[in-house]
Structures are given as C-alpha cells and as structure tokens.
Point group: C2
Chain length 213, copies 2
C-alpha cells in the first residue's frame, strides 16, 4: 500500500545535501554492535551483512543488503547489530539529527523510510521461512535462488551466480554449521541443480531449483 513512492527533485537534493559519500573495502566494519552512533546508511554499490552476535558465541546474520538498501537502525542510541561489507562498497552516510530536521521541512521523505522498513520486514519474513525449513538442502536451495535476484551478482545469460559471502556467512544466515554448507552444496551438485565453478562462482539451474524448493 505504501509502495512505489518517488521523491521529488527538491526532496532528493535536500537529502543529498546532508549525505556524505564514504567508501569501505571488502570485509570492513561500517559499525559494531553495541557502539553508540547517530548515522544511517544507504548502499550506493556493493554489499553489506548485518550480524548479531550473542553471549553464547552464536553469530546470527539478519540480512544481506545490496544497492539502494538502507541500514543503521538505532536502539537507545546504540547499534544493535554489526554492519560489515562483503565486497568493495560505496555508501551514503546520513546524520540522524540532520535527517530529523529535514523531515520537519519535507514530511513526505518519511515515506521513503516507511517503504524501506516494510521492505526490510518482508525480507525478514522470507529469511525466516528459509531458516526454518526442516531440511538444510531446501534452505540452501532457497537461499541460492534468492541470491539470483541481485542483478549485480547473477548473470542471466550464463546463469552464473557470484557469491559475495563466504561459507560461514551462509551458515550464519541459514542457521547451520559451516561444514553443512559445503556438504549440502556438494549434494545439490550431485543432484545436478548447481555446478561449482569455483568456491565463489556457481552455475545455477534456476528452473529445477525453483521446482525443488
């Protein structure tokens, strides 16, 4: 219901005026869980993972984020996740206080954030559906299928998917052990649903994977 919202030129310019462009190489922290902060971020290009680690040592990845996604929600002035780049990434950094002021002038900008929040919620639901599949092979198959949505990392001509994340990231996202990632990829390959070209490059039979999930 709040979808397909577009900013006017004036609104977009005002937003750009309070944004600074920053850059992070692959595998660098944007911020760390528990750290105080007052910036939110928008991905210009690249990819980021949001992870939450708990006292028992478990490390749950909440989401992989891609171009145009926003992140940096604060809880009591502190980040409740860590944000870490997967690949070379360019970001917009926006000060919360400046943003608050801007929203007073251009209240319609809120719709942009509402849209982002709803998108994030929907993504979280899809994530839950994946992570609670009783069989890990279905989790992984569904995950690979989701990855093919990212145009920057999936070539529709050759059906080759480039994984921006490593085996541990996949395991932490889907809630299983790192060894299971390897084993299950092999299983998918044995079933002829995928073909491992290298550890990060995978050729995907989207139709058969789609039918399998």
């Amino acid at each position: 219901m709040f979808s397909s919202f577009k900013l006017t030129d004036a609104e977009r310019e005002a937003l750009n005026a309070i944004s600074t462009r920053i850059h992070r190489p692959a595998k660098r922290r944007v911020y760390t869980q528990g750290e105080p902060g007052n910036h939110i971020y928008r991905i210009r290009s690249g990819a980021v993972r949001l992870e939450h680690h708990m006292k028992d040592g478990r490390n749950q990845i909440f989401a992989f984020l891609w171009a145009d996604d926003m992140f940096g929600t604060l809880e009591g002035g502190m980040y409740h996740t860590s944000a870490i780049t997967l690949v070379d990434t360019y970001l917009f950094q926006i000060s919360c206080s400046a943003l608050k002021g801007l929203v007073e002038v251009y209240p319609r900008i809120q719709a942009l954030f509402l849209q982002q929040a709803l998108d994030y919620a929907k993504t979280a639901e899809r994530h839950l559906l994946l992570a609670t599949c009783p069989l890990v092979i279905k989790r992984l198959a569904g995950f690979l299928l989701e990855c093919t949505r990212q145009k920057d990392f999936f070539d529709r001509q050759s059906n080759i998917l480039t994984l921006a994340m490593d085996r541990k990231d996949i395991a932490d996202y889907l809630g299983f052990a790192i060894e299971t990632t390897s084993r299950t990829l092999k299983e998918l390959e044995d079933m002829g649903l995928i073909q491992r070209l290298s550890s990060q490059r995978i050729k995907i039979d989207r139709d058969r994977i789609g039918a399998f999930v």
Copy 2:
C-alpha cells in the same frame, strides 16, 4: 530514531473518523492468505496470529500480535498471510484508500506507520533469534520469556502466564513439531524453571529462565 512519536488530537480524531470497530471471537479469521483486500487493522484488545502456509504443508507463524499492534500489509492487493484471532478480540478496521487520502492532509500520520513497521521488523529479528536456536529447549524458554512481556497475559504478582495460543501455534512459531512442544515443556518443568498448572496456565521462574537463555 523514529520512536516515541505521538499524534496530535486532530490527527487522532481524523484517524478515528475513518476507522470502524469490529469484533471477532476466539479462533476466527480476520482475513485469509491470498485473499484480495484493502483494509488494515489495529488491535484494540485481544490477540492475533499471522501465519503463512506453503504448498509443502508447513505452516509458519510470523508473529503473535497484541493490543495496539497493527497488521494487514498487502502485496499486490492481496494479503500474504492469514490473520486469526487467538482469543476474543476487538479491532479497528481502516480502509487503505481512506488512509491514503488522510496521509495527504496529515503527512505526520505516516510516522505512526513507520514506527509500527520498525517495531514489526525488530520483533521479526527477535523471532529469528529464537527460531534458530540450535536447542529447542532454549527456543521455548526464550519464547515463554517473551510472552511474559504481555501484561494482559502475565500476572507479575503470581508469576502466572496464560498462554493465548495452543501447542501447535507454539510449534509453528518456533519451527518444531507439536510433540516437541509438550516434551520440552515437561523438560523445563523437570528442571524447575516452570510449573504447568493447566495446559494454558504456567507458573514461571523468570529469573532462572532469564539466566538459562
């Protein structure tokens, strides 16, 4: 950052003007997955579950909702979950089109929805953390602890929790089998963390459960 937002009297009245009050007994549908619709809902009193069922027969509960929570997000004009009351429930029903018009006049009302969306996203994250615990006993313990947040269903004096949902609901929320719900409740009782007074009423040792999770 967008928390603690309050509507003005005028805004609240305008919102009430387009809301109709409706009532559902326990275990009745508010709407069904796949059904077209153009209403969103806010719980005045009672409780609702949002569930998503898939072709493989699995039934995943996305959330239990309580007083003041909103629900009814549409995807392409259709509900992508079913909403079903757990107990006798009173609701506000708001027409999307009327709401769209209202937002034009009172853009600040969007903040209310933004806040709800962020709350929902945060709840979804906590849900994921629960549902991916490697041991089901930690999932269930954490779930019971979450339930004690709802003042309407937990009495702080006696430490008695009234479960609004049945065993299958809990299983579908946490991603395990219905039998596991029973077995694990028994295990928690054997450990002295809870005491089953009846199938729906449980006395909880919040401190020990909190330490256990």
